[in-house]
């Protein structure tokens, strides 16, 4: 099976007054039809920029983009505006985080849907309207006829997001990029929307990129998860592996800082210390090293590459710790050890060996 979307070594940087922001710095992944990729990471890690770049929406005077984004073998980064416009909203569609600001406040929901049809299909207004109505029904908006003439602000948050999804799906895209589609919504509504996306995806064999900062959301919905840190993918794994055998201290941190409803009340959460790094002057070496409890001095010099994890297919990690040590650490953490306790492993002489290995 060939991949629907292949992103290779994508780099996006913005020239700003304060310096060059490397928002995305060498991201690669691929995605097949009918699959969902979850992209997770802290705020500012480059999730949205990745999504936008795929659609060519981050182009601009002060933006530098390199790498390749191949959609069905066709490099979108190299495509001209005309070609891009033909793809946007037709083959690839996007749903944004805040539906209130992402819908035009001065046009009715109906108009905005109809417009989306008319850009890509040579059909009459009436046909476009029918299609819009159909989609509103499909995404579960009751009394669709009436909602067509409503303005976005007249709908509730959930309804708006449904309308947004209807607009994205109206031309049967093969790839849907959903950028934090539920962050602005209540849990109950969030559940509704995620459910909806899942159903529609199954129906249409569509590929989905689900961007979220919540591993719960990403985990629940995605077949595969990519963890993003400071513009880089630090770990890529299947749904199963990311929760059961994560390999990167960053992933551990994300997992362990979430209070778990299913557990007994734990005494302490395990947060990731510090805060996300500056993207103008990112830390040298492993970008996570300043916040990594297991970092060794050499990690500030050596830049890890994304490498396959043992025998697991499709599991990749960019970490300088030897795999054995990582497995060991995760086992301890999972058993309830604090990072400090788990760090006992770090005293393992094997580690020093790895240090030597890794040194150039």
């Amino acid at each position: 099976m060939t991949a629907l979307l292949e992103v290779e070594d994508l780099r996006v940087s913005f020239r700003t007054a304060d310096g060059v922001v490397s928002a995305v710095d060498g991201v690669s992944f691929s995605l097949e039809a009918n699959r969902t990729l979850g992209i997770v990471g802290e705020s500012g890690s480059g999730k949205s920029v990745t999504g936008l770049t795929i659609m060519g929406l981050s182009r601009g005077e002060s933006t530098d983009i390199s790498g390749s984004v191949r959609f069905e073998g066709d490099d979108l980064l190299a495509a001209d505006d005309r070609r891009l416009r033909a793809v946007r909203g037709d083959d690839i569609a996007m749903v944004f985080q805040d539906p209130l600001s992402a819908l035009h406040p001065f046009f009715t929901v109906g108009d905005q849907l109809v417009e989306a049809v008319l850009v890509h299909r040579r059909v009459g207004k009436g046909e476009a309207r029918r299609r819009a109505l159909e989609l509103l029904g499909l995404v579960g908006i009751p009394a669709a006829e009436r909602r067509m003439s409503a303005y976005p602000h007249e709908l509730s948050g959930g309804m708006r997001q449904r309308a947004m999804i209807a607009m994205a799906l109206i031309n049967d895209p093969r790839l849907l990029i959903a950028d934090e589609p539920t962050t602005a919504l209540d849990v109950t509504v969030q559940a509704q929307i995620l459910e909806l996306i899942r159903e529609l995806q199954a129906e249409r064999e569509m590929a989905v990129i689900l961007i979220t900062h919540d591993l719960g959301v990403g985990g629940g919905g995605a077949d595969e998860v990519a963890g993003l840190y400071a513009g880089r993918v630090v770990e890529r794994a299947s749904n199963e592996a990311i929760f059961e055998a994560p390999q990167h201290p960053y992933t551990w941190g994300l997992l362990q800082s979430i209070p778990k409803m299913t557990d007994e009340r734990a005494d302490e959460l395990v947060p990731i210390p510090g805060r996300p790094p500056s993207l103008i002057a990112p830390p040298s070496g492993c970008r996570f090293h300043p916040r990594c409890p297991y970092a060794r001095p050499s990690h500030s010099r050596i830049d890890p590459r994304l490498e396959p994890v043992g025998a697991e297919p499709g599991h990749e990690v960019a970490c300088l710790l030897p795999e054995r040590v990582r497995r060991n650490l995760w086992a301890r953490l999972r058993a309830g050890a604090t990072p400090a306790e788990a760090r006992g492993v770090a005293e393992d002489p094997v580690l020093d060996e790895s240090e030597r290995e890794a040194a150039p």
Binding site: P273, G274, R275, P277, S278, C292, P293, A340
Partner: protein, 321 residues
């Protein structure tokens, strides 16, 4: 390396980044403004203008020019029409034989004085009332806002003309408190301007009032007075500065317009607007009489506008020119 690593990691991010960031919001602001060469040039022009206005007497004596109110009938021809630029009078003379250069200098002082003082008063009054109205709401707000509505319903220039004319009488107005001349112009402009400041500040305060730090202060037991002056006011400083910087050039123009219409600065005191008005009768034969004060006015207003734009950009990172 146990707890220390943790702590270092916690604060490490901060120190590395604070090296990039400036210390205070003001430093940030200065840094941005420093990058705006046009605004800096305009600022330099204004500084120069202020200096010139302050030092007009020495400048005049240096150039050997008569005072701004000295009439020299000899500088007029037999028909009483003014003569143009010459070594003796670099900008020519006006219809009364007064040196236009000296009067342009004197006009600078008047313009700056009127615009700065009246803007200051308007901003002070507008800010205070705007804060009170928005903060207390209810009848306080209703009273001031309706008052503002009434003032805003007035044709501005007419109101200005009216007040200025009313106060230009021999007795002045407000029981003689406001005397004809500069006092009246300042009062008029301030009276008209405070409403605009009021509206802006009221709007800003309405949103600031809802900020959580105001709630926080209140929940700590802060008095209203403290909240208004310690919590809200400091946050209004930036918009006030921007707005004032935009009002000043407008008020320079308003002063000139009032003087042009004859109800502003009273003769013989020089004002650019009044000079242009006097030049109207001879503007096709004595171009210099209209040209120099007009150009001075244009450049000054332009400079203030440029500085205002610069300040706005520097204080509002979102703006983008």
């Amino acid at each position: 390396m146990s707890v220390e690593t943790f702590e270092a990691a916690e604060t490490g991010g901060l120190t590395s980044e604070s090296a990039v960031q400036a210390r205070t919001p003001w430093q940030l602001f200065w840094r941005r403004l420093r990058g705006d060469r046009v605004a800096l040039a305009a600022l330099a022009f204004i500084v120069l203008l202020v200096l010139v206005a302050l030092l007009q007497a020495p400048i005049r004596s240096l150039l050997g020019l008569p005072g701004p109110n000295v009439q020299n009938p000899a500088a007029l021809d037999v028909f009483g029409t003014p003569t143009g630029p010459s070594a003796e009078h670099p900008f020519g003379v006006d219809t009364l034989g007064r040196d236009v250069f000296s009067r342009v200098l004197a006009g600078a002082a008047v313009s700056l004085q009127v615009a700065l003082i009246s803007t200051g008063i308007a901003v002070a009054v507008g800010t205070l009332l705007g804060m009170l109205a928005a903060f207390y709401g209810g009848w306080v707000d209703t009273t001031f806002s309706r008052m503002a509505d009434v003032l805003l319903a007035f044709p501005v220039l007419l109101l200005a003309l009216g007040i200025a004319a009313a106060c230009s009488g021999a007795e002045g107005c407000a029981g003689g408190l406001i005397q004809p001349g500069i006092g009246t112009v300042v009062f008029t402009i301030a009276f008209i301007n405070w409403v605009f400041v009021f509206r802006i500040i009221r709007g800003q305060t309405l949103s600031l009032r809802e900020k959580e730090y105001v709630e926080a202060s209140r929940s700590l037991g802060a008095s209203n007075r403290r909240i208004i002056f310690r919590e809200i006011l400091p946050n209004l400083v930036a918009p006030i500065i921007v707005y004032a910087s935009l009002l000043i050039p407008q008020n320079i123009l308003l002063e000139a317009a009032l003087s042009f219409l004859g109800v502003g600065v009273q003769p013989p005191q020089a004002s650019w607007g009044a000079m242009i008005a006097d030049a109207v009768t001879v503007f096709d034969t004595a171009w210099w009489f209209m040209f120099f004060p007009g150009t001075a006015l244009l450049l000054t207003v332009l400079a203030f506008n440029l500085v205002g734009d610069g300040l706005q950009d520097a204080l509002n990172p979102r703006s983008d020119r």
